[in-house]
Symmetry: C2
Subunit: 137 residues, 2 copies
Amino acid sequence: MRKEPEILKQSGLSITESRTKILELFYKNDGALAHADIEKKTAAAFDRVTVYRTLQTFVEKGIIHQIPTTDNSVLYALCKHNCAQGHHHDDHVHFICNNCEKTICLDDVTVPEVKLPKGFKKKQSAMVVTGVCGDCK
Amino acid sequence: MRKEPEILKQSGLSITESRTKILELFYKNDGALAHADIEKKTAAAFDRVTVYRTLQTFVEKGIIHQIPTTDNSVLYALCKHNCAQGHHHDDHVHFICNNCEKTICLDDVTVPEVKLPKGFKKKQSAMVVTGVCGDCK
DNA sequence: GTAACTGCAAAATATTTGCATCCTT
DNA sequence: AAGGATGCAAATATTTTGCAGTTAC
């Protein structure tokens, strides 16, 4: 069985064309994708609403995760480290290249721990680094 | 002279009511503010467009900075460490409380350095921690 | 066959732009 | 007085919701 349907099945989702194709996009793409990217890359083959709902479902099932950004957009990327539903290991650093505009998951770079002030309790942490990536330097 | 007009003057901006009031809001508020918060807290005294333009201007002048979030919203907070235009020292960790929903600048917690893969060059980095804050624990 | 998924329409929300008027300096 | 800032109108973009028809299992 191909990779994409297999993942959908494991997550308890029905295997549909839109889900398979969108998931495939994430595998083919090395960086993160925004909603608008997906519309472009699928040539609007699916309804805009379907794309919204698919992304939302994928996040809920832990197939992809959201990446924080400072402009008001949301970027999505694959969860590489076997994220199970409710057990995200989305603990790697994200890199946004100012040159090629790609957002890359640095899967091998773990978000370092920080010492929080008294009384604060950490649940999750995320880190975004901007600069120039390996391809653009 | 009051604090707010003084800051506007230093940044080379004309001192207007909307700018003074919005800046005052940031000083009175301990957490970060979203565009919608500002509209609410000013009781829509200013045009929505003015708020957009004011926030944009403040970011450009280094008076406030944007905080990365995973939902598609932008949060703004004061730059505490004398950010000059183009010389941001927005290097502190941001904390989002899952209980009171406030976003707090941990001015004393610096974003730690991370070792990037070969060829990557860092320009800026941001870190967001979620959990429970000191007031809610 | 049934539950889940999709597409369409439409509503709600958010953001941007142009321009005339007003305010700060 | 002049340039910048604001408000209004309107265009544009983004996201959400309801529902009927379709598809996966």
